[in-house]
Structures are given as structure tokens and as C-alpha cells.
């Protein structure tokens, strides 16, 4: 297996998934906050190509949903109603990339709303909420990892390059952060920050907290790389020619850390997505009505939802490709960095 090819394949996969959430407005059929109070907890509608009389339709369609006779929470398909799926329809308005206003959606129906992943307690479309929620969760992960790596890089460079008491101080501090189980640390940090905040503040708060939680490990790894890099002959030669610290760090030492940072990033992003999910799930993160993968799942904390509306769990399953992508990318990168560590 050629490493480079597989890496680029994983990379394409991961980027494709990110485009899905970045352009959530286009891929999601509805506005995530739009309510349909008449239809709470609708089960996912199935798409059909063949109708109940055996006729084939080229255009996929869904049947309407009605309550089963004598029941108040069991639904069945209402075969008198059909919703043919239309592509590139005009629907709820949104802003393309947050800038350009648009009404174009990948798919939808012209008549009633369809719920491919079911609806929640307010009749909001779970699929739309999943895609918009992914934007919050995935970007919390990405930005959190960026802050963490930047912080870790600075600390690692300072500790490794300058050494002496700075090294001692920074590394003892890193040990403190590593001595705490990370979720406890996350909880504790969150505990000391304001609880009732708006969605945007909550989002940035989470990113800051994640940055503080995670910096220690990359800092230690970067320090290790710097320690060995600064004794390399070409670095010493450059120093001998009178290169300044800033130049040495930028031109000769920084590039050496790239592989460590890259592998750390593929580990940190999914971990931080999970951290955001955990916080929002527990009500410490991004608040309603802004969806995130965490608060999407938090309705499952109610026993009644767990018993009757199993499809509220579906978002947890369709987010798995994201984690798979990062895992695949990470293990490929790791294998390239240390080819003999773990043979396949």
C-alpha cells in the first residue's frame, strides 16, 4: 500500500465531510430552528422508488405519516399522500458561507415537509439540525485544536529552545495539566466561567477552554523535537554563522515540528469534537435553539425519549464517518512519521 495515495484518499474523504457541514444551508432541506408543532417526534420517513401498488417511479418519494389508529405516539405511513423528492428546490432562506443570501437547497419537496431523520419535540427537522449542528461541533473541534496547537507550539519552542529555568517552569506546569484527568479539567475550567451565555459566547468559551485543557501534551512533544533539532549540525552551523534566535526558530526548527503537530491535530480534533459534544450534551455548552451534536443528543437523557423515539439516536450514528475520517488520516500520518513502530 503506498502511503501517500492512501493519505490523499483519506484527506479527500475528510474534506468532503467538512464541505457537507460548511454548506449546511445548501445540504439541509430546512432551517434548523423552524418548528412544526403539529408534528413532534415524527419517525424518519423512508424514501421509496416503488409504490404500494408495485409501480416504479423514477423520482424517489416519501409517503406522508399519520398516527396509528387508537395510539398517540405510534406513526404509520399514510399512503394517500406522496411527497416526490425534488432536487435544487427553493426553500428557507439562508446565507451561503454566511455571506451570500440564498434560497437554494439540494433537495426538498414542494408540498409538505419531509423528515429523513425524523423530527424532534418541536417538530424541527433532525437532518437539518444535524448538518447545522455539525458546523458548531466540528468547528469547535478544529478551532480548539488550532488554539491548543498554537499554545503548545509556543510553549514547546520556548521551553526547548531557551532551556534553563524557563524549561523547568513550563514543563512543571505542563505536568500539572497532565496530572488531571482531562474531562475533570474541562469540567473544572467550565465551572469557573459564566454559565448563562449566548450561543456565540458559549462557542468561543468552549474553544478557549479546550485550548487550555489540551496544550500540555503537544508542548511536551514539541519540546522534545526542539531539543534534538537544536543540536543538529546544520542548526549549529547556522548559529555559527551568526543567525539570530528568531531566524533559527523560524527557518530551521519550526519545520521540524510539523509532523508532530500534524499527527497531534488529527488526534485532537475528534477528541475536541467529542469534548464539545459532552459539554453541550450536559447543558454546559452551546445552548438551544442553536443546534450542536451534543445538544442534539441531550433529549436522550429523558427516559421517555429513549423508550419511544429511538431515532433521536440516529445523529450519533451518522456522525461516525467524521471520526472514522480523522482516525484513518491520523493512523496513516503516524505510520508515515514512524514507519517501523507498529507494523500492519
Amino acid at each position: 500500500m503506498s502511503g501517500r495515495r492512501t493519505i490523499s484518499r483519506w484527506l479527500v474523504f475528510v474534506i468532503a465531510l467538512h464541505l457537507l457541514v460548511i454548506f449546511a444551508g445548501f445540504f439541509a432541506p430546512y432551517d434548523p430552528a423552524e418548528q412544526d408543532r403539529k408534528n413532534p417526534y415524527l419517525p424518519p420517513m423512508r424514501l421509496h422508488l416503488v409504490d404500494h401498488q408495485g409501480h416504479f417511479h423514477a423520482r424517489p418519494f416519501a409517503y406522508g405519516v399519520k398516527l396509528r389508529e387508537g395510539s398517540f405516539d405510534q406513526y404509520e405511513e399514510d399512503r394517500t399522500e406522496t411527497f416526490p423528492l425534488k432536487f435544487l428546490v427553493r426553500g428557507a432562506s439562508y446565507r451561503f458561507l454566511g455571506l451570500v443570501p440564498s434560497r437554494l437547497h439540494l433537495f426538498g419537496t414542494e408540498t409538505d415537509r419531509i423528515y429523513l431523520l425524523g423530527s424532534d419535540s418541536y417538530g424541527r427537522d433532525q437532518l437539518s439540525r444535524f448538518l447545522y449542528g455539525g458546523r458548531v461541533s466540528v468547528f469547535a473541534g478544529l478551532l480548539g485544536a488550532s488554539v491548543t496547537l498554537l499554545l503548545g507550539l509556543c510553549v514547546g519552542l520556548a521551553a526547548g529552545y531557551y532551556g534553563g529555568w524557563r524549561d523547568d517552569l513550563l514543563m512543571r506546569l505542563a505536568e500539572l495539566f497532565l496530572a488531571l484527568p482531562w474531562l475533570y479539567l474541562l469540567f473544572a475550567l467550565r465551572a469557573f466561567l459564566p454559565l448563562a451565555v449566548g450561543p456565540l459566547e458559549a462557542f468561543f468559551l468552549i474553544i478557549v477552554v479546550l485550548g487550555i485543557v489540551g496544550w500540555a501534551r503537544p508542548a511536551r512533544l514539541v519540546r522534545g523535537v526542539v531539543l534534538s533539532a537544536k543540536e543538529r549540525d546544520f542548526v549549529r552551523a547556522a548559529r555559527g554563522f551568526g543567525a539570530a534566535d528568531g531566524y533559527l526558530l523560524r527557518r530551521h526548527i519550526l519545520p521540524e515540528t510539523s509532523s508532530v503537530l500534524l499527527t497531534q491535530a488529527t488526534m485532537l480534533v475528534p477528541q475536541f469534537i467529542l469534548a464539545e459534544m459532552t459539554l453541550s450534551f450536559l447543558g454546559l455548552g452551546v445552548p438551544e435553539p442553536v443546534p450542536s451534536w451534543g445538544n442534539l443528543l441531550s433529549s436522550l437523557q429523558q427516559y421517555s425519549v429513549l423508550v419511544s423515539y429511538w431515532w433521536m439516536y440516529l445523529p450519533a450514528l451518522i456522525m461516525l464517518p467524521f471520526f472514522l475520517g480523522y482516525l484513518g488520516l491520523g493512523s496513516e500520518l503516524q505510520e508515515r512519521a514512524e514507519p517501523y513502530k507498529i507494523g500492519r
Binding site: 500539572l176 496530572a179 484527568p181 475533570y184 469540567f187 465551572a191 475528534p270 459534544m277 443528543l297 472514522l324
Partner: protein
């Protein structure tokens, strides 16, 4: 031996001091406290709140509060819970016991499964059993803890096989001894399963890697040539040689389990530190939060200390390095 132990113990001690200082430093940054919420309640007089603030020393400077808190820790109180109006330690200890019950069981179970599985996989490196294990661990690694716990919960609810919340049934007190044990085990099954499945893939992968490296060594070939039994060779000779990185991983896995437990306890409503801390965070009951964090650090540090001891016992190189 004593010197090595003392050095590790001193290290652990300073770590705990550092963490407590850090936790206190963060409280300064915290906007609002428990009594600010009270102010919103018109039935509580401002004087009462002021008196309470003085009583709990919220007006004093941070170093003073820290010193008082440390003396309270030394007296075995660990500060005072505003919400429960009692010392923190007894409250925490009950929850910590429940958390430890989960994590220790999960730890034993996870290692009990990971060792044979990893060794089996390393023994058949690159062949079908190894592939199966690799695929299995990759699949588990992809599923985030939260999705895993909720998934198990959904399955349990749908099938009705296992109780889905709490630690014991309502009629627990009236059960005979073995009935009690059975009830407790049934309630533990789901959270322990979630914990084990969440740490298992990492453990198996490391066991496999460490064993694969050792099985490559010439002494294994020699032992095979001498006609040693497969089991003896693997478990008596190869495993101890591979033990060093695994023991370090043992210490590390404690931290992962404690973190995982925090979330899984909330999801599965296990009365451990997880739900308790969450409640304390929402109520701004800071001494409970600090106590919980410190306790978790203590567990982790204790686990690492245990790992150091094991390492000392298992690896002769460390013994000679540090002197008798």
C-alpha cells in the same frame, strides 16, 4: 528502593499541591458565586447574604482562603459545600466510592480482555486473527464515548435485559445478600460495559505492538528452538519482556477511565462523581468542584504511583539504575 519510592511520593505530593493552587487560582477568575444566585431571591434579605458571605470568607483575600482551605483538608473536611451545608469530604467520599467501584471493575475487566486479545493478535501478526482484532479495535475507536454509552442505553431499553439507571433497585434493602450482589452487578453491567469498550481498543493496540516487538527478538526464537510450550513462552517469557510500556499505559489508562466514567455516570445516572460534580458546577458550589477535581487527581496520581511500583518490580533495569 526507599529512595525511589520517596522520590515518587514527593513528586506526587507536589503535584497535588500544584493542582490545588491552580484550582484556587481559577476561582478568582470565576464570575459570580453561589450567593449571587441568592440575591435574585427577594425572600432572602441582603443582610443574610452578607452574613453568609462573611461566614464562608468569600470577602477575604485568596491566600487567606487557600490557607484555611488547606487546614480544612488536613482536618478531613475539604472545605464546605454551600448547597448541602455540610463539609465536602463525606459527600464526596460516597460518590467517589461509587465511581471507584465502576472504574476499578472496568479497569480489571479491560486489562483482562486486552492482554489475551493483544497477545493472540501479535502471535498471528498479519494473519486472519490479527486482521479481525485490528478491524474490531478500529471500529470501536471510531465510536465516541457519548455515542457508545447512549447506544448501549438504547439497546438495553429496547431489549429490557438490563436496568438502565441508578445503582440499585428500589427493593434493594429487602433483598438477601446474594440478591443484593446480583442486583448491584446487573446495574453495573451497562456502565462498566461502556467504560470497558471505550478503553479496550487503545489497550489492545498497545499490547499487540509491545508483544509484536518482543516476539521478534532472538531469545523467542531460541526459546522456541528449546521446545518451550507456546503458552509458557508467551505468558512466562515474552509478556514480562513487553511489560515496561504496558505498565506505563496502565497508569495512563486510569486517567482515561476516570474521564470516561465522569460522562458515562451522567448518561447512565450512576450516583458517582460525575452527576455530583455537574450539579455542583451548575450551582457554583466551588469547594465541591475543587474537591472533586483534587480527588480525581489523587486517584490518577495514586494509580501512577502504583504503576511506578509495578515498574520497579517488573523491570530490573530500573532497579539497578536507582540503586537498592
Amino acid at each position: 528502593m526507599m529512595r525511589y519510592l520517596l522520590r515518587r511520593a514527593a513528586h506526587a505530593f507536589f503535584l497535588l499541591i500544584g493542582v490545588s493552587l491552580l484550582a484556587f487560582a481559577f476561582t478568582v477568575l470565576a464570575p459570580g458565586n453561589y450567593f449571587d444566585e441568592m440575591r435574585l431571591n427577594p425572600e432572602i434579605a441582603p443582610e443574610t447574604i452578607a452574613a453568609l458571605r462573611t461566614q464562608y470568607e468569600l470577602n477575604r483575600s485568596l491566600p487567606v482562603r487557600y490557607v484555611h482551605w488547606v487546614s480544612s483538608v488536613l482536618h478531613g473536611d475539604m472545605g464546605f459545600s454551600f448547597a448541602y451545608n455540610t463539609p465536602v469530604a463525606p459527600l464526596l467520599l460516597v460518590r467517589a466510592r461509587n465511581t471507584l467501584l465502576l472504574t476499578v471493575t472496568a479497569m480489571l475487566l479491560a486489562w483482562g480482555i486486552a492482554l489475551p486479545l493483544g497477545i493472540w493478535s501479535a502471535e498471528h501478526l498479519g494473519r486472519l486473527p490479527d486482521r479481525l482484532v485490528s478491524w474490531g479495535t478500529a471500529a470501536l475507536l471510531v465510536v465516541p464515548d457519548l455515542a457508545l454509552a447512549l447506544g448501549l442505553l438504547v439497546i438495553a431499553v429496547k431489549s429490557g435485559w438490563l436496568p438502565t439507571g441508578g445503582m440499585v433497585s428500589l427493593n434493594f434493602d429487602r433483598l438477601p445478600f446474594f440478591g443484593k450482589l446480583r442486583d448491584l452487578l446487573l446495574h453495573m453491567a451497562l456502565p462498566v460495559a461502556a467504560l470497558v469498550l471505550s478503553v479496550l481498543p487503545t489497550l489492545v493496540r498497545h499490547v499487540r505492538a509491545a508483544m509484536a516487538e518482543v516476539l521478534d527478538a532472538p531469545f523467542v526464537l531460541a526459546a522456541e528452538g528449546h521446545g518451550l510450550r507456546r503458552r509458557t513462552l508467551l505468558y512466562r517469557y515474552a509478556l514480562p519482556a513487553a511489560a515496561n510500556p504496558l505498565i506505563s499505559l496502565f497508569g495512563f489508562s486510569i486517567g482515561t477511565l476516570l474521564s470516561g466514567s465522569l460522562l458515562i455516570e451522567v448518561v447512565m445516572s450512576w450516583p458517582g462523581l460525575g452527576p455530583f460534580l455537574l450539579e455542583a458546577i451548575l450551582a457554583r458550589d466551588i469547594y465541591v468542584v475543587i474537591g472533586g477535581v483534587l480527588l480525581s487527581t489523587l486517584f490518577l496520581v495514586g494509580g501512577n504511583f502504583l504503576a511506578d511500583l509495578l515498574l520497579y518490580w517488573a523491570d530490573p533495569r530500573i532497579r539497578t539504575e536507582t540503586g537498592p
